[in-house]
């Protein structure tokens, strides 16, 4: 069973539909017991970091997330869920979960492309990834694959070692970060067509280890 954590941070319908479509059983839950009892955890989220942290604490899920990380359950952070696993966010100037050292930054403004065109913020639409380190969850992902992004902030881990992949948008920012049994993607795999589904399928069968 894959637990999709519901902490009032956006609509989880598409994540749930995608996991079900792939043939895995899943539940959308805010119950600590259900999260502890699951084999793996998807930690999604859209919205603002400040409110998300308040909701997580109110529901007691901040502690549960750290706990399941400690017992080596595979965790997939998506979008806001890939940000608030870090220590702090510039968005609402808020303390976050701190599972990974580092913080969450706002895109610098103004932002320009290599051709010197002004770039819009948020970064919204399809973009590629540059994989730096192979990872079981990225198995089968090809260089030409693109993913759907919607965000104005990005995760910046303290150690380069946590950066699994990057994406270029005016700057080259970490779009996939990983540490032990945690993998987190800034894009929305559930909205990224076949390549996104591939990542979700890889995750749902991942044991949290790195052996090929």
């Amino acid at each position: 069973m894959v637990a999709i954590i519901d902490y009032k941070a956006g609509n989880l319908m598409s994540v749930e539909c995608a996991v079900k479509k792939l043939g895995f059983s899943c539940c959308v839950t805010r119950s600590a017991e259900e999260v502890r009892g699951s084999e793996s955890i998807i930690f999604p989220g859209v919205g603002a970091a400040g409110e998300a942290m308040v909701n997580l604490r109110d529901l007691g899920l901040d502690k549960v997330l750290k706990e399941v990380f400690e017992v080596h359950k595979p965790i997939l952070g998506i979008c806001l869920g890939a940000q608030i696993i870090l220590e702090a966010s510039q968005e609402n100037d808020v303390q976050c979960l701190g599972i990974i050292k580092g913080d969450v930054k706002l895109f610098p403004r103004p932002l320009f492309s290599e051709e010197n065109n002004r770039l819009k913020i948020p970064h919204m639409g399809w973009n590629g990834i540059h994989v730096r380190k192979s990872h079981p969850v990225l198995k089968g992902i090809m260089p030409a694959d693109e993913f759907y992004f919607v965000h104005a902030y990005y995760p910046l881990p303290a150690l380069d070692d946590y950066v699994i992949g990057t994406t270029g948008y005016g700057i080259e920012f970490p779009s996939i970060i990983g540490y032990e049994n945690l993998i987190a993607v800034q894009f929305h795999p559930e909205k990224s067509g076949r390549a996104g589904l591939r990542i979700l399928r890889n995750f749902c069968t991942w044991d949290g280890g790195y052996a090929e």
Binding site: M124, R194, L197
Partner: protein
């Protein structure tokens, strides 16, 4: 670098699409779910549904369509047409749409943009703008006026002023529909699109007039559009989305080529 998006638009009335796909005989061409899946598999980057159901008490039919689409396709899709309240937005988003677009309701009540953005996030709120060229005047300095009721009613609102106001209110994207070009297949309104796109910091989808790949190429390059809405050109089978993307790619426009 972001890819330019190609977005097919499906008009839906009472749960059925109003235009079929000419070159694809083996699917139920009236079924929005089947058509969405077809375009998804053909490489559409996003899909827009426009609900033209006349009667508002039949909205639940559209909600059911949205739910079934969400189960089948895994790219973003938006729903517009007849969205008047926050509750209308909520229903569509909870059924699985990524975005909801408001047009007439926002003209009558601009606060709906701010309230929607606060409730669901700016990324969910698309402002649909129907625009007519009227010539520059003191009241309409840009020369483009916002119209409603399918272009029959002039609002006295300048298109550029409205686009900026909507951005300030929290709209996450603008779908810019040039009423005069719509359905003509004679090309997008090439002066309007960059005027809006270069003066806001949110993405602009150009809509209305695509009849040839050249039109799409120009609106995405000189026109500065972030995305191009396509309807007749794909529904009537003039080109497939694959052909459009192949050609754009060959002409150095960055588009998503693997799906």
């Amino acid at each position: 670098m972001l890819s330019k998006r190609i977005i097919p638009c499906l008009d839906v009335r009472d749960g059925k699409t109003t235009k079929g796909i000419k070159f694809k005989e083996n699917i139920d061409i009236g079924d929005p779910v089947e058509m969405a899946r077809f375009y998804y598999e053909e490489g559409a980057d996003e899909i827009v549904f426009y609900d033209i159901t006349a009667s508002s008490d039949r909205r639940d039919i559209m909600i059911d369509v949205v739910r079934r689409v969400a189960e089948e396709i895994f790219i973003p899709f938006s729903v517009g047409g007849g969205i008047r309240t926050i509750e209308d937005m909520r229903q569509v988003l909870l059924a699985g749409a990524e975005k909801v677009s408001v047009n007439t309701a926002a003209v009558h009540n601009p606060k709906i943009i701010a309230e929607g953005a606060r409730a669901f996030g700016s990324q969910c709120i698309v402002l649909g703008m129907d625009v007519k060229k009227v010539g520059a005047s003191r009241k309409i300095p840009s020369g483009y006026e916002i119209v409603i009721h399918g272009g029959r009613t002039y609002t006295g609102i300048d298109a550029l002023v409205w686009a900026k106001e909507a951005e300030n209110l929290g709209a996450g994207e603008i779908c810019l529909n040039a009423i005069d070009a719509d359905g003509t297949q004679q090309g997008y309104e090439m002066a309007l699109t960059p005027l809006i796109s270069e003066n806001v910091n949110i993405p602009v989808i150009a809509s209305g007039g695509a009849g040839d790949i050249d039109h799409i190429y120009y609106v995405l390059t000189r026109g500065k559009a972030d995305a191009a809405l396509v309807a007749s050109i794909v529904h009537y089978g003039t080109y497939t989305i694959r052909q459009i993307k192949d050609e754009l790619h060959a002409r150095s426009v960055k588009v998503r080529m693997r799906w």
